[in-house]
Each structure stands twice: as structure tokens, then as C-alpha cells.
């Protein structure tokens, strides 16, 4: 019997709470003591109805917001109590963001957008690294296109290349297929799956069960807590979806 090495822990959340003040008197408790563990190489979907706290969860995991209470260890760093500028540095080094609305800078070309994280972190060989990242998402021929000259699927791939730029510990995708058609969605999910196959940790926030079925594990949230956390019995492969789409056409 062989002993499988325990995979490295990427993030550990314990009893994380977060509340917001809405207006003068109204306090919204978005997180009421969430616990979550994530190991290297996982592909997790965070699901839940609106108001369940999944957006806040994503902001806390993404170090965009500090929790009110509880502990959060990201890739060995305790980040729960960090100040704004230290959080910015953690985001720069540890997290690659992919957003629903792509969030590319419209004035910059594809390659300049991909270079952006390197401007605020490690600037070494940034052109070369950006080129490789864009090639890895299949945009080797679109370096100097502006976002407005690219399709939605291509823009999202530029965003993924940008997320890969600083070789983060985790890719954090917020409804990455929300603005895309079926085919582009499948292409984007295929890229995430290939990255995950290569060992990248991917966390994806979504409300679509079809999208979540492409992950390996689904975490559901309700009322600011984790309500269920289970593995996906059979991971749906986006490559199969793409083949099916070709067959239909």
C-alpha cells in the first residue's frame, strides 16, 4: 500500500465573518462563520443563490476585502489582518483574477493588458512572459489587438492570460462564462480544465449548475455559511462539449 503525499494547502478559512453597513441602520451579515479548505490542484465551484454570501466569499478569498473576524491563511501567509497595500501585494503574487465582464483596460493592447500585473510586481522579462501566457490561451496571433477588436471569448482568454502572468497560487474566476455564448463558454471552461490538469488551482464562482459540473468539487453557500461541500462524481469535460457542438453544426 502506497502512501499518497498530502497535497499542499492553498487556503484555509476558519470562522470567517464579514458584515456590511447598508445605509444608516441596516447591517448585512454577508458571512457568518465560513470554514473552507482548499488544496493545491483543486478545481472548486462556489455556488449559491444571490444573497448567500458567495460574492463576499469571493472578495475575501481574493484578498479584495479583509474579513471582520476569523482566520484566513493563503499559501502559507496569514492574510486576515493585512493592510490594503499588503493585500495588494498578495493579490499581485498569489491570485489571478478572471471576471465576468473581462475587465480589460480598453486603451491597452492584449499584450499590454497581460503585462499589467508585472508592472506592480516582478517586472523581469515581462514581454516574454506575457507573450507566453497569451500563446498558452491560444492568442499567439492577437498580441497587438485592442479589447474592442476582440470577441468576448477572446477577451476572456486575454483576461486568463493576465491571471496567469505572475504564476499565482490560485486562479479566482467570478462567473467567467456569464457574458459568453455556449461555444465561447465551453472554450473558456476547456482552458480552465487544461490549466487544472497541469496542476493549477482554480476557484470559480458561478450560479449555473452546467458550469459547476465542469469542476471537481462543489461548495454551496446559504445565509453566509457553507451549506454543502461535495465532490463532483463525474467531471464534465469541456472538450467533449466542444466536440458535441461541432457535431451539431
Amino acid at each position: 500500500m502506497t502512501v499518497r503525499p498530502t497535497p499542499r494547502a492553498i487556503l484555509t478559512l476558519r470562522g470567517v465573518t464579514k458584515s456590511y453597513r447598508m445605509g444608516k441602520e441596516n447591517i448585512v451579515h454577508a458571512l457568518r462563520g465560513a470554514d473552507l479548505d482548499l488544496a493545491e490542484g483543486e478545481f472548486v465551484a462556489i455556488m449559491g443563490p444571490s444573497g448567500s454570501g458567495k460574492s463576499t466569499m469571493m472578495n475575501v478569498i481574493g484578498c479584495l476585502d479583509a474579513p471582520d473576524d476569523g482566520t484566513y491563511v493563503l499559501d502559507g501567509h496569514d492574510v486576515a489582518k493585512l493592510k490594503d497595500d499588503d493585500l495588494a501585494e498578495i493579490r499581485n503574487r498569489k491570485i489571478g483574477f478572471v471576471f465576468q465582464g473581462f475587465n480589460l483596460l480598453p486603451r491597452l493592447t492584449a499584450i499590454e493588458n497581460v503585462e499589467l500585473p508585472a508592472l506592480y510586481g516582478n517586472p523581469k522579462q515581462r514581454k516574454e512572459r506575457a507573450r507566453r501566457a497569451l500563446e498558452s490561451v491560444g492568442l499567439g496571433d492577437r498580441f497587438h489587438h485592442k479589447p474592442s477588436e476582440l470577441s468576448g471569448g477572446q477577451q476572456q482568454r486575454v483576461a486568463i492570460a493576465r491571471a496567469l502572468m505572475n504564476e499565482p497560487a490560485m486562479i479566482l474566476a467570478d462567473e467567467p462564462t456569464g457574458n459568453l455564448d455556449t461555444r465561447s463558454s465551453a472554450e473558456i471552461l476547456a482552458i480552465f480544465q487544461h490549466l487544472n490538469d497541469q496542476g493549477k488551482t482554480v476557484v470559480m464562482v458561478t450560479h449555473e449548475p452546467d458550469v459547476a459540473a465542469h469542476c471537481k468539487r462543489i461548495v454551496r453557500m446559504r445565509d453566509g455559511r457553507i451549506s454543502s461541500d461535495e465532490p463532483v462524481p463525474v467531471q464534465r469535460r469541456a472538450d467533449d462539449d466542444l466536440q458535441a457542438l461541432v457535431a451539431v453544426a
Binding site: 472578495n59 481574493g62 479584495l64 476585502d65 490594503d84 497595500d85 495588494a88 501585494e89 493579490r91 499581485n92 503574487r93 483574477f97 471576471f99 475587465n103 480589460l104 483596460l105 486603451r107 499589467l116 500585473p117 508592472l119 506592480y120 510586481g121 517586472p123 493576465r162 505572475n166
Partner: protein
């Protein structure tokens, strides 16, 4: 983020909004240009006044008669302004000796009608002593200056200015020729009697040029004694005694020496009752430069106000820009930009605006001064390196001051809120 990247990105965003950047810059351009042009006019006037004063001779101590007032505050008799004499000048010359360079005395003889070589002219006649060229740093170009002997015998000889010479004699030499000073007295019985005094021309002064529209090359110099006895009848009195000190540093001493000699000669115990006034050229220059400096500061301040307005325009546009680019700020923060990165990005943008505006403003200001010179050549303008450095410095400082608030607003945006904005 490297500064070079910041600059490139700042320029990029300025180029994207070409018209807006240009209009915003216009405020700074006009501000800097007006500071440059206004201060240039002020400095030019100052330099011109200074050179005018110095062109009358350098290191001069001038003695002029002073009206004596009695204790009741009433003025003394008119005759008290005739209390400087040629003998005072001789005394100063004898007593100060080598401690001064030269001394001369002047007696204005008024404007006279002049005829010579069939030409008519009107000029100012001044009685002076032979040291005039040395004291006034004004040598003769042609011929010679009249001598001590000419003064002692009230010779009817004259040294004329270069403009007077060319008016009366054109390009030919007037040396040795005669000119006649004419004065017409109205006769109560009708008509008039003319008095004509002939002078032999012995020299022509070097050209000095006109300042403030006053041509100093148009004058006729005659011996003081001749001016006193023949032309004015003010025997022995002079309008001024001018002493040339050895150097600028000895002027204060010379001023004191002259004052004590004259007090003694005029038998005045209390210097407050002196019937003369001793003016030190350094003091005159200092007083004049205070005036022109105030003038320059005033002009600069007027320009400065437009620069301030330009700065407020910068702040306004930067605030709009921060608002418009909230999402960009969110994206940059999400991928790891720190507060300082965002702060510098916007600060560099506003400094680029004002810095470029400052440079263009200097060019425009220079252009304006050139135009002023073309239209009004007598108005001197002077752009100094100091003005340029200050103008650029101030415009960059305006970029920092008025760009800081918008940049701080941008830097303190929360990444989540910034990302959510449309």
C-alpha cells in the same frame, strides 16, 4: 511600477483625450505665458532705467540746491535755490583732490533757437565745466572739449551733441564753424528785438542714443561762465555739481565729504537745514530698482492669477478623469497596484499636463515679448533664465498641488467598489 512605465502610461492617457488635454493645458500655457511676458516687461523696464541712469555717468554723487524752509513750514525765498556756486565746485575739487576722480558743475541755459549753415534748429543749452566728458563718461567724437581757459574768459565756444550736429551740418564736419543762438524779445511798440550770440564749435560729442523717447544727443554744451553771464545772467550760481567717485565703494565716503565741505562753506551748523541736497547714484539706483521690482512683482502676480486659474482647471479635469476611470483603478488594484502606484499614476499625469503646458507657455510668452518688441521697439523686454526656471518650477508645482487631491481620491478607492462602477 517603474517611473518610465508611469510616464508612458500618463502620456498615453493624455493622448487619448487630445482635445481635453489641450484645453486643460491651455489654462497653464496662458498662465505661464502671461507670467513670462509680464515679468519680461517689468525686468526690461528695470534694466532700461538702470542703464539710463548709468549712461549719465557711473559712480556719480550729485549736489543740487535745496529750498530752505523756515520753522513755520513756509518756504524760503526763491533765491535760496541759487546757492550753489562755481566756487563750491572749486572747493570740492581742491579739498577732495585724489579721493575723487573728477568733478564738474552744470548750469542749465534753457532752450534756444539755433541757426547755423543756413539751418534752423531748437536745442537745449547747458553750461558745463571741462571735466564734463570724464564725469559723464561721454567723450568727444570729433574736435576737442573746451578748456579751463575758455571757462575763465567766458569764451563763446560750444561742444554739440551728435544729433544736433547732423541736424545742422548733415554729414560734414562742423569743427571751427559758427552757430548762432537767437532769442526774440517781444517789443511793446510792436515787432520784436532779437538777440543773437555767436559760438564757435570746437567739438562734437559721441553718440549715446535715445532713451524713453528723449534724445540726449541733441544738446549744446558751453562753458559754465558763458552760460551764467552771457545766456542766463545767473552770475556764479550753478544748477548742480556732479562728482565722480573713484569706485562704487567709495561713493558713501565721497557723499559725506562733499556734504561736510558744503556745510562748512555755507556756514550751516545743523545738517537738517542744509540748503543743498547730495544724491548718491547708488541710492538712486536702489530706489529705482525697488520701484521696478515692485512693478515686476505686480505684473507677475497678475500673470500668477491666471496660472492659478489654470491650476484649478487641472484639478477639475483630473477629478473628472478619476471618476471616468474608476473601473480602471479597480482593475489595477485587483492585479496588485498599491495606493502609491495609483497616486503616482495620476500625479504624473497632472504633472505631465502642467510641465508640457509650462514649456509651451514659455514659448508663447517669448513669442509675445517678440511681438511687443516688433510693435513697440522702445519698450524693453527681458526674459531671464531665472524667470524661465521659476515659471517651469511653478507650473510643475501646480501640477503637484492641484493633482494631489484627485490622485489621492483615486488611490483611496476601494477595489471592490471601483470594480463595480460602470
Amino acid at each position: 511600477m517603474k517611473t518610465l512605465d508611469s510616464f508612458r502610461s500618463a502620456l498615453q492617457s493624455l493622448i487619448v483625450n487630445k482635445l481635453r488635454s489641450a484645453l486643460t493645458m491651455l489654462g497653464v500655457i496662458i498662465g505661464v505665458a502671461s507670467v513670462i511676458a509680464m515679468v519680461a516687461v517689468g525686468n526690461g523696464a528695470g534694466a532700461q532705467i538702470q542703464s539710463t541712469v548709468l549712461s549719465l555717468g557711473s559712480n556719480l554723487v550729485t549736489v543740487t540746491p535745496q529750498q530752505v524752509s523756515d520753522p513755520s513750514g513756509l518756504r524760503g525765498a526763491g533765491g535760496s535755490s541759487m546757492n550753489l556756486t562755481l566756487d563750491d565746485m572749486r572747493a570740492i575739487e581742491a579739498q577732495l583732490g585724489d579721493t575723487i576722480k573728477a568733478v564738474h558743475a552744470e548750469q542749465q541755459a534753457g532752450r534756444w533757437q539755433i541757426t547755423a549753415a543756413g539751418q534752423n534748429w531748437n536745442s537745449n543749452v547747458v553750461g558745463v565745466t571741462p571735466e564734463y566728458p570724464e564725469v559723464r563718461d561721454w567723450p568727444v567724437e570729433e574736435g576737442e572739449f573746451f578748456t579751463e581757459t575758455d571757462v575763465s574768459v567766458n569764451a563763446q565756444v560750444a561742444v554739440i551733441g551728435s544729433a544736433t550736429a547732423s541736424q545742422l551740418f548733415g554729414s560734414s564736419s562742423p569743427i571751427g564753424l559758427n552757430l548762432a543762438l537767437r532769442q526774440v524779445f517781444p517789443d511793446p511798440r510792436g515787432g520784436g528785438r532779437a538777440r543773437i550770440i555767436n559760438f564757435r564749435i570746437v567739438g562734437v560729442l559721441k553718440e549715446k542714443g535715445a532713451t524713453f523717447g528723449f534724445n540726449r544727443d541733441d544738446q549744446i554744451l558751453v562753458p559754465t561762465t558763458t552760460a551764467q553771464r552771457t545766456l542766463t545772467g545767473r552770475t556764479n550760481s550753478v544748477n548742480s555739481i556732479v562728482i565722480k567717485a573713484l569706485a562704487s565703494e567709495t561713493m558713501a565716503d565721497t557723499t559725506e565729504d562733499v556734504r561736510s565741505i558744503l556745510l562748512q562753506r555755507h556756514r550751516i551748523a545743523d545738517p537738517a537745514n542744509a540748503d543743498f541736497q547730495v544724491l548718491n547714484q547708488n541710492d538712486t539706483l536702489a530706489a529705482l530698482s525697488t520701484i521696478t521690482q515692485t512693478f515686476t512683482i505686480l505684473l507677475g502676480a497678475i500673470g500668477g492669477i491666471s496660472l492659478l486659474v489654470g491650476g484649478i482647471g487641472i484639478m477639475n479635469i483630473m477629478l473628472v478623469s478619476v471618476n471616468e476611470r474608476t473601473r480602471e483603478i479597480g482593475i489595477r488594484k485587483a492585479v496588485g497596484a498599491r495606493r502609491m502606484d495609483i497616486l503616482l499614476q495620476f500625479l504624473i499625469e497632472s504633472i505631465a499636463l502642467t510641465g508640457l503646458g509650462g514649456i509651451l507657455g514659455i514659448l508663447l510668452g517669448w513669442g509675445i515679448t517678440q511681438l511687443v518688441q516688433q510693435i513697440q521697439p522702445s519698450l524693453a523686454v527681458l526674459i531671464t533664465a531665472g524667470t524661465v526656471i521659476i515659471a517651469v518650477g511653478v507650473s510643475v508645482a501646480i501640477g503637484v498641488v492641484f493633482g494631489l487631491y484627485p490622485a489621492m481620491r483615486a488611490a483611496s478607492l476601494h477595489p471592490i467598489q471601483a470594480l463595480r462602477s460602470e
